[in-house]
């Protein structure tokens, strides 16, 4: 009697969306894509053919953009009336719980639309008493639940049933976490100072600046791409979009793709056809970045290309999201599984067209 063991050797599913469009097209969704990716961890700008960043882009990177970290903030503070009136409703508030892994712990986030998202464990959900949905991933075993509280609703005020129920739930479970906070007041050029003073009296707050890094490349091989063709060419005149994306990833990780190493070690080299460029610059910013800053960089690069300040044929802007964020784009649920990646890259061409790569992991909804 022999036993046959059936092993599933297929890799986990992942999603990559490649979009080709023009900035001038009315239906172009590039703005929506940038602004709805709320929690950004790292932003990287890669410009081949330049030794330094063009002036407008440089100016945007140099602008100080700090974020705050608040330690041990209980969730009852997030439904505080003053907090909602002064900050949630008067600008874009981005808050994400720090050092909480989405597959292990409870994760809390405040979106700029005024929604408080709680991704909680089954035990916490049963004690919290607020109605939510089970997580969309791993539906058979309901281990995680997503609860949404709309802070901007008119009826969400102290004294009303809904508010009191939420408050009692938070008090009963005593939920608290460290939060990363970024606030962009609407309209006036106000600084984000008031938010800090709101919390400073009772909780430990700290101000952090984004970590910036510049890398310069010399004698780099660039794959040749045709802005109007994503797929493979018949004569081998240009590289496919996917090959280009892999190459850019290699450059970002510091992998040398110029010389082909011995076959035994690696068979990867820069995709053909390729061209040699003398210099290239890569500038990155790491921390807790608001989408507004990403949009500013994008606009700066575009204006530099229009003004001929930037001689290169294209520029690439990559934005990495937080692996532990409960949402990827807008309100699409995000999970970790093996990698927790939710990142996008904009390949900006001189003729005002672009390629958008959106990469998400297994436990994600296709953007």
């Amino acid at each position: 009697m022999s036993l046959t063991l059936k092993v599933d050797l297929s890799p986990p599913r992942s999603k990559l969306v490649i979009e080709k469009s023009s900035f001038d097209d009315e239906k172009s969704r590039h703005r929506k894509n940038v602004e709805e990716h709320y929690f950004n961890h790292k932003m990287e700008l890669f410009i081949p053919g330049c030794a330094e960043l063009p002036p407008s882009a440089q100016a945007v990177f140099d602008m100080s953009d700090d974020f705050y970290i608040i330690k041990d903030l209980p969730l009852t503070e997030l439904i505080n009336k003053d907090f909602i009136e002064n900050f949630v409703k008067k600008g874009s508030l981005y808050m994400l719980s720090h050092n909480t892994h989405i597959d292990k712990h409870n994760v809390y986030a405040v979106l700029p639309t005024g929604k408080l998202i709680l991704s909680v464990h089954k035990d916490t959900y049963e004690e919290l008493g607020l109605v939510g949905q089970p997580s969309q991933f791993n539906r058979k075993v309901k281990r995680k639940f997503v609860v949404e509280v709309d802070l901007t609703q008119d009826i969400f005020v102290p004294g009303k049933k809904n508010y009191e129920r939420v408050k009692k739930g938070f008090q009963r479970t005593e939920l608290k976490a460290d939060f990363l906070l970024s606030w962009k007041p609407r309209g006036t050029r106000q600084s984000a100072g008031p938010v800090l003073s709101h919390f400073e009296d009772s909780y430990r707050c700290d101000r952090r600046s984004q970590v910036q890094q510049t890398n310069k490349h010399t004698e780099l091989l660039l794959p040749v791409v045709n802005s109007s063709e994503l797929e493979e060419s018949d004569d081998g005149e240009w590289c496919t979009a996917r090959e280009w994306y892999e190459w850019l990833g290699a450059v970002s990780c510091g992998i040398n793709c110029n010389e082909a190493p011995e076959h035994y070690i690696s068979r990867y080299s820069c995709p053909k056809p390729n061209k040699l460029t003398a210099t290239a610059v890569r500038r990155s910013m790491t921390g807790f970045i608001a989408p507004g800053r990403v949009w500013a960089v994008l606009e700066a690069v575009r204006s530099d290309m229009r003004d001929n300040q930037c001689p290169s044929p294209w520029a690439a802007l990559t934005v990495h999201g937080f692996a532990d964020s409960p949402v990827s784009w807008a309100r699409r649920e995000h999970g970790f599984h093996h990698g927790g990646e939710n990142l996008y890259t904009l390949l900006i061409f001189r003729d005002s067209t672009y390629w958008l790569f959106q990469a998400v992991g297994t436990n994600d909804i296709c953007p």
Binding site: E126, E127, G129, G169
Partner: protein, 227 residues
């Protein structure tokens, strides 16, 4: 054949050892025919024996060899109502006039007294013993809160237990609302005398009368109390 044998047994002559002692026992041979003897026997022993009854007696024969069939006993009429009648007559329903929290506060005070006596609370009482006694205690009148539940709508409900059935607690809240909370998949907390008891509803799904006599065993297979 057996019937003949039985008949033989019935109509056999007297055994030998008795027939020998006939004079001593005072047994005489029958000197008249059998039916005449029966008539005279009946006349002597029945009061006011009428000749017409003789005819009736003649008709009714007592058959000794066949077994006597017992008449079926009439079932005693049930004095309790079945559940359909209970629901129709609304025996266990609490009418709206009685759904006022203030009416049941004295009941709660009574329950506190009861639980104090039942558990014999002292500052040094052993908690495990208390737990065992608590399992058998009656909860009618206890102030209970739902602290955990698989359905989030039940969490946070606080009130006095008015009725306990097999699967459900009927609780009256401070807002004079009668809430029916299922015991399953919920954890209730009862507070008294500075102690807080947690009742895991999943293990409490039985009638209160039965619970008093049931022995709760520690589950060896599934020690988790996951809802």
């Amino acid at each position: 054949m057996e019937g003949d044998q039985n008949q033989d047994l019935l109509y056999q002559p007297l055994p030998q050892h008795i027939s020998e002692e006939k004079e001593k026992l005072g047994l005489k041979e029958l000197d008249c025919p059998k039916d005449k003897f029966v008539e005279s026997f009946l006349e002597r022993h029945i009061q006011n024996f009428k000749p017409s009854e003789k005819k009736d007696l003649k008709k009714s024969y007592l058959l000794l060899d066949l077994p006597y069939r017992q008449k079926p006993t009439v079932a005693k009429k049930k004095t309790t109502l079945n559940s359909r009648e209970k629901r129709e007559k609304k025996v266990y329903d609490i009418p709206p006039e009685h759904q006022k929290y203030s009416l049941y506060v004295p009941l709660h005070k009574l329950w506190l007294q009861y639980i104090k006596d039942h558990l014999q609370l002292t500052p040094t009482s052993n908690l495990t013993l208390l737990q065992k006694k608590m399992l058998k205690a009656d909860v009618h009148g206890a102030l209970v809160t739902v602290c955990k539940s698989r359905c989030p709508a039940y969490v946070g409900l606080t009130g006095i237990i008015l009725q306990e059935t097999k699967n459900v607690f009927k609780i009256i809240t401070k807002d004079d609302k009668l809430k029916t909370v299922p015991k399953a998949n919920s954890v209730f907390s009862v507070e008294f005398e500075g102690l807080r008891a947690k009742i895991y509803g999943n293990h409490f799904c039985m009638r209160s009368a039965r619970r008093a006599s049931k022995k709760f065993k520690m589950p060896m297979k599934n020690p988790t109390i996951d809802l």
